[in-house]
Symmetry: D2
Subunit: 278 residues, 4 copies
């Protein structure tokens, strides 16, 4: 499986997100605390929104802990919205086109989890992708295909509904093939302005997902923590696992939930797949 983080708020250097926290994503790449696998060394990726509407992407097949270019980029690029992902392959090749986050126009998408028995389901799912979008698929992972299903179902117009329909299709397709629990997922997606994060699994026991709590309250509780005072009030993190041990800084996202982060506001909504067949 994988680990990821989604940041939004005042512009920060990428290194402040990727390297500095006690349990940073680069630390997690060697020693994940909550992941199914402790090692996430099968490539990684970062997406960041700079001056352009389309985010920049850096994908690498090296373990994150070894990548010197990531260190350089992270020391120089700052952004007010950052997606980062470390990968533990569930079987598909370790290559840049299989690294998250995936991009379509100004949208980013990353996924932790898997589609069960993906080789069995892949062809049926590919057929469901809008032919106009199909040729943009570059890699071979379940995660990228899942993204293109969500795009097909209108991700750019109504993300929660599009994801619900994509998950519904995956579950129906899986069950048609006799797979009891077809999907396991935490997903984050953004258009550059709002972040939607989903925690769901067919089996009802999903991968871990946390979001940071209100920064201004935390500042009052921890007047001596300089990190908290550098961030803007609307800064928010959504993460596979907490970046450190600060009590009260992290709140678990409940099962079957969509978390919407826009500016300094977060909203939790129930999430359930939309099944075409009722």
């Amino acid at each position: 499986m994988c680990r990821w983080l989604a940041y939004s708020g005042s512009p920060v250097l990428l290194q402040d997100l990727l390297y500095k926290p006690e349990n940073s994503l680069v630390v997690q790449s060697r020693h994940s605390r909550l992941g199914v696998e402790t090692i996430n060394g099968d490539g990684f990726g970062v997406g960041w929104y700079g001056a352009l509407e389309e985010p920049g992407i850096y994908h690498s097949t090296e373990p994150a802990w070894n990548d010197r270019n990531l260190r350089e980029l992270s020391a120089h690029a700052s952004a007010g919205r950052v997606f980062a992902h470390i990968r533990a392959s569930t079987g598909t090749a370790v290559q840049q086109t299989n690294c998250h986050p995936f991009r379509h126009r100004s949208w980013l998408w990353m996924h932790n989890g898997s589609i069960t028995d993906f080789t069995v389901l892949k062809r049926d799912l590919i057929l469901a992708v809008d032919p106009a979008l199909y040729t943009e698929i570059e890699g071979s992972t379940d995660s990228e295909l899942f993204f293109f299903l969500a795009l097909t179902f209108g991700l750019e117009e109504d993300p929660p509904e599009a994801v619900a329909r994509a998950v519904g299709l995956i579950e129906e397709t899986g069950r048609r093939h006799g797979i009891e629990h077809p999907i396991q997922m935490t997903v984050a997606t953004t258009d550059g302005t709002t972040t939607w994060a989903f925690r769901y699994s067919s089996v009802g026991k999903s991968r871990s997902l946390f979001h940071s709590t209100d920064i201004s309250t935390l500042r009052l509780q921890y007047p001596d923590n300089p990190v908290l005072h550098e961030l803007s009030n609307d800064a928010r993190l959504v993460v596979s696992e907490p970046l450190g041990d600060l009590r009260g800084a992290w709140r678990e996202v409940p099962e079957s939930t969509c978390l919407v982060v826009h500016g300094g506001r977060e909203e939790l909504r129930e999430f359930s797949p939309t099944h075409a067949l009722g």
Copy 2:
């Protein structure tokens, strides 16, 4: 486009094929004489038949001229049947899963050329692949998909007919999309015992293809050439371009031809696509 060679005969060290000739494949990777592109630096691959029925494959995304592991492998591995390919990408990603030769069980396949407007045709062609084979597709190239179409049409039973049907399907699909000349190709495929090489293009002006002539005759003409005396009588090479300037050593494969090499015999057959729609 690309360059390739297919060897069969007495076991030779890979380096004798890849490095030693005056215009070896590694030399061609920097300075192809007859290719559309002079540089073929977008990865390469070697397939060789050793002790097992299934051939070994070495794929790399580095330019062949820089790869130290290829040099080492080539100095130590010898085989009586070798496929080697240097790639000049026509747009798809430079990654190992896009390197030739592609493998299915004991079969190898490599291609020089392209399917025109592949992004337009890809989805229709993918749908024609046998679903049971579909999940083996790992990369994103036209060449690998072409291989799986040929497998779908019975490559393992009747290679010339299967390739004819695959090419026919590609041409029909292309023309349905308004593409005048849908395919350009030289292809080599083998089951480890026989090699089939094809030269064809919809436009009737195909990429270059040559085969070596009878070794025993050449030995008589060139009594002082030690290379020729080390090879067995049945040694044969099929190549995108001659490996050297020895006059009389190379014969061009005609347009629209299938060359079959088995043991020391070669046979030229007319090749034309089989169009389902007549």
Copy 3:
């Protein structure tokens, strides 16, 4: 050998330097017009000065034309001072630690050319490096060692004199070993504020080097060229070969010359090695 460019002026996106010009550095990586080698596919590097005093560096062993991360970085990073270099190895390994530009604190260094018979001279030259600097050497190239010799001789205080002494030492060392023409070089170095570029060779026939002429004059001559109107008056480029065919835009740097670029002023000084032994 190699190709490089050094830019200073108003902040520009890296892609405007690396991809957009007709004969851009990425174009040159496949088809250099003036280089000893037409292909410079043995890795590349970019150094850029962002918000920090220490420049960022991106080094890659892939051919520049294939690197997707370079494309992404170049679309998002802008800088008022950029060094970029494409490499054609003269024998040492293709690895990130052998990619230019090399960095020491806020300084960058890049080199086109070579130290003749470097394997013969290397040990003597290594011994001349300040032991306090020695452990910073990470790669195995003549170019990096040349940088550390210049640092040893005071590059950070008086660049022309330090380079003159480094070249003098290389020539003396070479001649002691019977090498007639020990060095061939164009070099660029910067502290982030001034750029020094050198053209010199022991044989008196040095690699090509050009600098852009006064931008404001060019604007008057070419009122319709938008590129020229986006650059600040003090923008300057020093390049191994012109980035396009605009007549009058490029002036050759003479043999045995040090070009100093600071703000919008350039100064040409004679350059000759300082030989310790007179």
Copy 4:
């Protein structure tokens, strides 16, 4: 730190050594049981003696568990003498020239451990390398330099004495710089006929090292274990950690010991550094 194995005996496929054992080297690359680090993902290397006197080498910077070419090579190459090494970098770059085993003519060398404060000692140690050998050093690790010190002191004539002198020099150099415990090592070296393995550390608590016991005795104890029956009587393994849980199959090499394996005979000798200064 690192993990390694040295095999000698009847020819075996590399995959039988690298992938098949329960705690194989590839398994250890993710989950070492006895190493200082549980992950050894900073590249790896294999050296094998084929038909030539000079062994072949395959070096990769990828984690061993991801390398598809290693899987292919291992399925096809067999050898009667194999060195394999997985690396956990102690600071130097992850690049092929830093991967073990290192080679000089027909000799291989690999090392687990480190020279303490290597950056402090490096220059003094480099100066001690025979100038005629010096230019062969390609990488930047302590391990490769250690090899060249041993070569300088006559490794090819008397391995135990050459290693003793190299270790003595490292200890003397370290102590001159105030380093209490300058070296930590298990080392294996071979000329293709005999293997010498060393376990030593200045502090007297060395990295783990084991060797397999007499195969014929084991066969009697485990009549039903097919693996043991395929190996020749003289097959021997020296390993950083046991490849499985078979009781009685592994014997720890004592502290400060040189193990010599030649044919089916092993000999344990006391090892202590030779200090030039008494």
